[in-house]
Amino acid sequence: MKVRIGWLKDYVILHESPESIAHILLHLGLPAEDLTSWGPDYVLDLEVTVNRPDCLSHLGVARELSAWLERPLEPGWRSPEERTDRSIEEAVSVHIEAPDGCLRYVARVVEDVRVGESPAWLKDRLESVGVRPVNNVVDVTNYVMLAYGQPLHAFDLDTVRGGRIVVRWARPGESLQALDENTYPLTPETLVIADAQRPIALAGIIGGLETSVRPGTRRVLIESAWFEPRVVRRERRRLGLQTEASYRFERYTDPEMAPLAADHAAYLIQTLAGGRVPAGRLDVNLRPWSPRSTRLRYERVQQFLDVAIPPTWIEKRLQSLGFRVDRVQDGPTPVWEVAPPSFRADVQEETDLLEEIARHYGYERVPLTLPLTEKKVQPDYPGFHLERAARRVLQGLGLHETVSTSFYPDRPLEVFSVVDPLRVANPLSDQRAFLRRWIAMGLVEAAQWNHQRGVTDVRLWEIGQVFWDEQGLPREACHLGLILSGRDRPTQTWRDSTRPVDFFDLKGLVQTFLQTLGWRPVAFAPSSYPFLHPYQQAEVQVQGQRVGFLGTFHPRWTELYELRTPVYLAELDWDVLRTLPRAVPVFQEWSRLPAIIRDVSLIVPESTPYAALEQALAEAQVPELARWDLIDRYVGPQVPTGFLSYTIRLTFHPQAPRSSEEVDKRIQRLLADLSDRIGARLRTE
């Protein structure tokens, strides 16, 4: 809302600098986005919150200043000079047939006007606040709206058929060509102003072209009405048509202003465009406004704001803001009945009055205190601390945390074979209308973004919500995703070269992550995710429960996404994972005797997965065998075709001193066992 300081001075005496006026208004809740000079004058561009439509006028802003500065407010209403020989009833009649949409309709008529250019002062005022002058009649309606906040409309009365104004709902099939020259189809939910035959204006939004005031117009009908905010809002949203009028009507206008504004407009038209005004105004007022008072307790003011404001100050300030204040209980902590003025529909209960008092007393004068607190009452959300721990662990493992958008185009849906996608009804762009089903969708996009920019070492993770549709209901869950691509170390060094990361780097990472947070045991099982390499993927299990997947992004899609290296993806269902019990470390005594280490190379049929060997080792239950590690895997000339060789490092933690022979005997037994179970035999050079 643009406000000209010189204009404010019509209503309140101001000798403060424009900057101090802006400063006062800021502290009253009307911050200026901009302060610009206009000739010798200044214009403030005020941000007016939706609860304060009364400040969408110069008078409203002046009222705030007059209260703050404790100076009188002079609205300066004027009325036209009326004919005694002709009354308005002879010129027009007004009928409200839609009381749901319009509660008050005031009409004034000015006849024998000379439509022409407005005087310089009027054009200058309008232009200074960003309104284009049209002609003296239209300019007056705009001027009155900007001055007093009441949107007006002027009709060429000679084009209003039957001299009838009917406020009604539009009928099926009706349409209206508006002042903006667009023709709008109307619906039975459209509130219109009609004449005897047809709609002539969209109530509270825009007038019709045909009945508009133009050069040559002789008789002017001024409309000053109160329209139901929700009706205006609904319609202007349907039409996508925001006007100065609809902006005010949908926020609530002052019903008591309607007759005053009509009179003032008639007076101004008469002054600027000549003309004669038939006696009286038509004022159809279906529900006359009456004040609704609210109880205000001084005790509450004191307690709530923690300040001791003199009761008389409160009374005076509320009164100067237009409130009626009646003291119903005297004493050191009085109680009042306070009735807000007609232009303050936002004030409905005591708390709203507390804001008025705080606002004018000054938010900055309210002291700083802290609530008394004893202890934490509510629990943190489930998994909160675990999430923080995960963040630390993954940072330590050298992964960057990323955060992605939740919106994706169709392609990732296809790539990730999503069968239950959730779509946004009104997406920002049709390109990205779907909510993510997997965190991996964003991670793959991040990989693409980085690869395209020559950064192929991508080690990222993300935690966040994923979404899907379940029988028509939107669902969401928290997932944790990881992605690896590029090299196994940050850079080649003068000592070591790098190698590309692979599936096993990711597998080790996932295992380390899970184990570090205390989840045991971690296992892997066959899986068949269509977006992963069919022979390089696995399901991740914790305590026998499926918690996610890991694998190589399918080479077909790697190509489609123009990724420069293979990309490895893992995703864990965090909502499942976080509920699984986690092991607390329990101290275990170690053997005081030195460990005995033996390496054995085994030859097994090529088709034997390592897991089978591991299982056989576990089941053999060799006493004192504390751990085993696969230290070599070999296929080549020294191994017969159709076989491969695993070299296992066995570590024994003896309970008593053992001779070499004893250990060898155990290994012999183990080898016999492995031979029985999986057909393994010792490899001899």
Binding site: T49, V50, L305, V307, Y363, V366, L370, S406, N450, R453
Partner: protein
């Protein structure tokens, strides 16, 4: 054999050995010397002890003393020489092991915590200390939780302050973290002290300062006798804990449907300290928080009696704070996953500051 001969034999030997020890260049040289002196078969000392029998008995004690002195001297000299030889060898080995310590060290991967999370955590920590719980809620909400229960009249212009992305029917993507206020108050009775971090969604065209997806932190306190001054004090404390004791706060009236009185909270500009610069549009102030006292209608909606209880709520945009703290020029950088951006936050100073107190 007379005494003189005995004495001179020893003196000669002593002189020979002294030279031999001096010339010894290795452990094996020393070993030869040891054999010459102490050898069981033909060691010098052994032989001289044997020869003592040829001396007159009254001279034998003196001879014994002489030989013992020699023995001690030999042992000392050889040990000395041995130590010196070892020292020399070590020095030579160390010389060979010389490295150019200016060569680069082995690089390790270093991960970064996303700046949004760093800021979020710094904020959470301040409120955790004050006994707040960190709570969360769904990102897909109903109209009721996002608007209705928060005192938004149906079809009211206040809804335009929050441009909404809809799923279907009543379902929408939450436009703020405030629906969690309702969920918390439905679940717990006062006293309530929570903060709510989370992702929120707006139908905003992305540009340098607007993103359709961003993050907020919401705070809610409900108890008997919570005052407007408590809100002011809490936020002043919070800002000073986060930005240091020099940080100033400014409260000015504003409007949110779910709070009354409502306030916009400004802090003195981080970059210019309040003198005025480009970041604060020369005003010296940065708008960082929206806040207010919980509207009685919101309390009534969750069956908390506003005559008995009162509360305050506040909310802030994490990206905006992060942009100020890290001087990030464009909000779109946060969600791009660009490694060149993310890796800049491997040093997370804001999350673990212990030098800021107020």
């Amino acid at each position: 054999m007379d005494w003189r001969e005995f004495e001179s034999t020893i003196a000669r030997f002593r002189e020979d050995i002294r030279r031999a020890i001096q010339d010894a260049r290795s452990e094996s040289d020393l070993q030869d010397i040891r054999v010459r002196c102490f050898g069981r078969q033909r060691g010098f000392l052994r032989e001289q002890f044997k020869r003592m029998a040829d001396l007159p008995p009254d001279l034998r004690p003196r001879a014994g003393q002489l030989l013992n002195e020699l023995k001690e001297w030999l042992e000392r000299e050889i040990a000395d020489r041995q130590r010196r030889l070892q020292e020399t060898h070590l020095e030579e080995r160390l010389k060979q092991e010389r490295i150019d310590w200016t060569l680069p060290g082995t690089p390790y991967w270093r991960g970064a915590v996303h700046p949004i999370q760093q800021v979020r955590q710094a904020i959470e920590d301040i409120f955790l200390e004050m006994g707040y719980a960190v709570v969360s809620g769904p990102e897909i909400e109903t109209d009721y939780y996002n608007f209705g229960a928060l005192n938004f009249p149906p079809d009211h212009p206040a809804r335009d302050m929050w441009d909404t992305l809809y799923i279907h029917g009543e379902w929408l993507l939450r436009t703020h973290t405030s629906p969690v206020q309702i969920r918390v108050m439905q679940r717990y009775r006062p006293p309530i002290r929570v903060i709510v971090p989370g992702k929120v969604y707006r139908h905003d065209e992305p540009d340098a300062t607007h993103a359709p997806v961003f993050h907020q932190i919401e705070g809610l306190v409900v108890d008997r006798g919570i005052r407007f001054s408590d809100l002011r004090g809490t936020l002043a404390y919070f800002l000073q804990r986060l930005f240091g004791p020099a940080c100033k706060m400014r409260f000015r009236p504003s409007y949110f449907p779910f709070t009354e009185p409502s306030a916009e909270v400004d802090m003195s500009c981080l970059l210019c300290g309040g003198r005025g610069c480009g970041a604060c549009k020369q005003s010296g102030w940065l708008e960082v928080l929206g806040a207010g006292m919980v509207h009685p209608n919101v309390l009534r909606e969750v069956r908390i009696d506003p005559e008995v209880y009162s509360g305050f709520a506040f909310g802030l945009g994490i990206e905006r704070l992060a942009m100020l703290m890290f001087r990030i020029p464009d909000i779109r950088l946060f969600l791009q996953g660009d490694v060149r951006f993310l890796e800049q936050f491997r040093v997370d100073t804001w999350a673990f500051r212990d030098d800021v107190t107020s």
